[in-house]
């Protein structure tokens, strides 16, 4: 994030959008600073793509209280007049133009003379390392190359905001990882605000300054990648961010952020409370990641008793299912670590790794 005194580049307040009877966006507000890499994370149907289309102007929302880009009210402007461009999921490159004509399109539209437009387009292509293929037909490019052309075409007009709709979705894993790094570097170089849509928590965590998690047309949680990864504040967020163990319990005491929960069998455990307003006595979830659980000596004073029910070897790691007084748990042991094969009688974790939030 850049300095907090900067004016928000994007301000969206209270947007509602319905397709017929289906509510795609329900009172969503969002803002992004200049130069910020903001990721909207969610599964399909969460409303994230609709959100992007509302910002770009390709979709007119049912209602919106405020929609500003760079301080300019754009709520009633068509897509063509908004200072933002989109990298489409399908790339949407013009098949009747070659690479350089595609990239120069936005400039030619703005009546830039062809020499300047070509120079700028070549510069943008150079930025994505594709200058050597300027005269190729779109059909002659690979998926990764098309992706770069789409990127160059979108940034060549130097918009305030670049909107990216799952741009890496169609690429294979290796290429995706390379492109993640390249995208972040490009964003730093241009100092442009990126609004990035993805369903992959890995992409969201590695690239973003800030992540907004959406579900069913609402924002579930937003914050830095670490906040979302380590401090989910709802069952949905914890599940989406990959918490394998989400247990049912009751909150019996709290001290600041630290909470004490009791399981049906009487077992008591501590954890961090991530949802602010949580009264003692209410049913809660306690969630812990499988890889944060470790085996303890059988006579250790802390931790809880456990019994192995199954082991599943998964290549890089082994998943171990355990039966405990808190309920069934899964722990993960990296390949080669000693927990992978030895008997386990007792397990434990750092209190900071267990999070407590309300049952929804």
């Amino acid at each position: 994030m850049t300095d907090s005194t900067a004016v928000p580049m994007l301000e969206v307040e209270d947007v509602v959008h319905r397709y017929g009877t289906v509510t795609a966006l329900s009172h969503v507000s969002l803002s992004a600073l200049k130069g910020e890499f903001l990721t909207i994370l969610g599964s399909s149907g969460s409303g994230k793509t609709t959100m992007l289309r509302v910002i770009s102007g390709l979709e007119r929302p049912t209602s919106v209280r405020r929609l500003r880009i760079g301080g300019v009210d754009v709520a009633h402007l068509p897509a063509a007049k908004r200072n933002c461009t989109t990298v489409f999921q399908s790339y949407a490159l013009f098949p009747h133009m070659n690479v350089i004509e595609n990239v120069a399109y936005g400039l030619r539209i703005r009546k830039m003379n062809s020499t300047d437009a070509l120079r700028e387009a070549h510069r943008a292509l150079g930025m994505v390392q594709l200058d050597s293929k300027a005269d190729r037909r779109i059909s002659q490019l690979s998926g990764g190359e098309r992706q770069r052309v789409a990127l160059a075409r979108a940034v060549v007009t130097q918009p305030s905001i670049l909107l990216l709709d799952e741009p890496l979705g169609a690429l294979d894993e290796r290429l995706r990882e390379d492109m993640q790094i390249e995208l972040v570097e490009l964003q730093r170089t241009l100092g442009m605000t990126f609004i990035y849509i993805t369903h992959s928590q890995e992409e969201a965590l590695t690239m973003s300054d800030r992540v907004v998690l959406m579900s069913h047309g609402r924002i579930v949680q937003s914050g830095g990648p670490l906040d979302l990864f380590d401090r989910p504040n709802s069952r949905f967020a914890a599940g989406f961010m990959g918490y394998e163990n989400i247990l049912q319990a009751r909150l019996i005491g709290r001290e600041g952020d630290l909470g004490l929960v009791e399981f049906p069998g009487g077992l008591r455990l501590q954890g961090l409370i991530t949802a602010p307003a949580l009264d003692t006595g209410t049913p809660v979830h306690l969630a812990i990641r499988a890889e944060r659980i470790s085996a303890l000596a059988p006579d250790a004073p802390e931790g809880i008793a456990a019994r192995i029910t199954s082991r599943v070897y998964r290549g890089k790691y082994t998943d171990i299912s355990l039966d405990t007084p808190a309920g069934p748990l899964r722990m993960r042991s990296w390949h080669g670590a000693q927990d992978e094969s030895r008997e386990i009688r007792r397990i434990g974790w750092s209190t900071n790794d267990a999070v407590i939030f309300a049952v929804d």
Partner: protein, 307 residues
């Protein structure tokens, strides 16, 4: 190539045929040979026939240029020019009307039902014989026809409007009506193939609706436009029903000359005139291709079809 029709009753034979067709390279040559025999050979024979002549209602099978020379000496220039003028005018009217209609139908946010109804309506003219469809207009446009009755009944005119029937206007009108579907359908197909995201990308990059039309939709719909022009121009050049029925003998086109030559048993003249129409069509299509290049590279437009 794969025969995609897989009848459930016979799930062995068809795939086998399909496999056989795809492994042997016979299909394309077979189609070419058949097309050559059915379409190209008759045209060649027609062309050859035009170099014979007629004497006493018999064809003289001796090569000569008499028929062609006679064709240009007998003052058929006027007829040719009229035919060309009417055919081109009709094609242009169709284009001006059909493109916006096709654009609206394909991308104008028409509901599925509305689109189905429009497409069904466009095919209705094919159900009916062209003469029957055309002759109805006589009753509507004639001196004591529907239009004139209404015009005089409402007091808009004192005497019947004469140019409504048996005039060039009537011939144009008849052709425009009957050739509208062949122009609309290919353009509609071509525009329908354009991915919506391309149009959105154009808007998103700052293009006005007009710029999007000019730089994205029009170039990508060129294959359909060209097909529509071919389907319209060809029949318009050879039109026979409309000038006969709505022209009432006052609007002579090449087809009328062909007909009169035919009834006089002057087959070489028929052949020469028909060959001449084909040549005219080729010249016009070449001209159209050159014009189309101004709006976009027609060759690259076909890339959309190839995917």
């Amino acid at each position: 190539m794969q025969t995609s029709a897989s009848a459930p009753a016979d799930d062995r034979l068809l795939p086998r045929i399909g496999q056989w067709l795809s492994t042997t390279n016979l299909v394309v040559p077979a189609i070419l040979v058949a097309w050559f025999a059915i379409v190209i050979v008759p045209i060649i024979i027609l062309f050859v026939y035009s170099f014979f002549s007629t004497a006493q209602f018999r064809t003289v099978y001796e090569p000569s240029l008499d028929t062609w020379i006679g064709l240009f000496e007998s003052g058929r220039w006027e007829v040719t020019l009229r035919t060309l003028r009417i055919a081109v005018t009709v094609t242009l009217i169709e284009l001006v009307g059909a493109f916006p209609f096709a654009l609206w139908l394909a991308k104008g946010g028409v509901s599925k039902g509305g689109r189905a109804v429009c497409l069904a309506l466009l095919t209705i003219p094919f159900f009916l014989d062209m003469s029957s469809r055309t002759i109805v207009w006589r009753a509507i446009l004639g001196q004591s026809g529907l239009v004139n009755t209404v015009l005089m009944g409402t007091g808009l005119t004192d005497a019947p409007v004469e140019w409504l029937l048996y005039s060039e206007v009537a011939v144009h009108f008849g052709m425009v009506v009957s050739l509208f579907p062949p122009m609309v359908l290919p353009i509609y197909m071509a525009i329908n193939l354009i991915d919506d995201s391309l149009i959105e990308a154009s808007k998103d990059l700052g293009a006005s609706p007009w710029q999007t039309l000019r730089r994205v939709i029009l170039p990508l719909s060129l294959p359909g436009v060209m097909a529509g022009v071919v389907f319209c121009l060809g029949p318009a050049l050879a039109a026979w029903v409309e000038p006969g029925m709505l022209g009432g003998g006052f609007v002579n086109l090449i087809s009328n000359s062909i007909e009169s030559a035919y009834s006089a048993l002057r087959y070489p003249v028929v052949a020469a005139l028909s060959a001449f129409v084909i040549l005219l069509l080729l010249v016009l299509l070449a001209a159209m291709y050159l014009i189309a290049r101004r709006f976009g590279d027609p060759a690259s437009s076909f890339r959309v079809l190839r995917g």
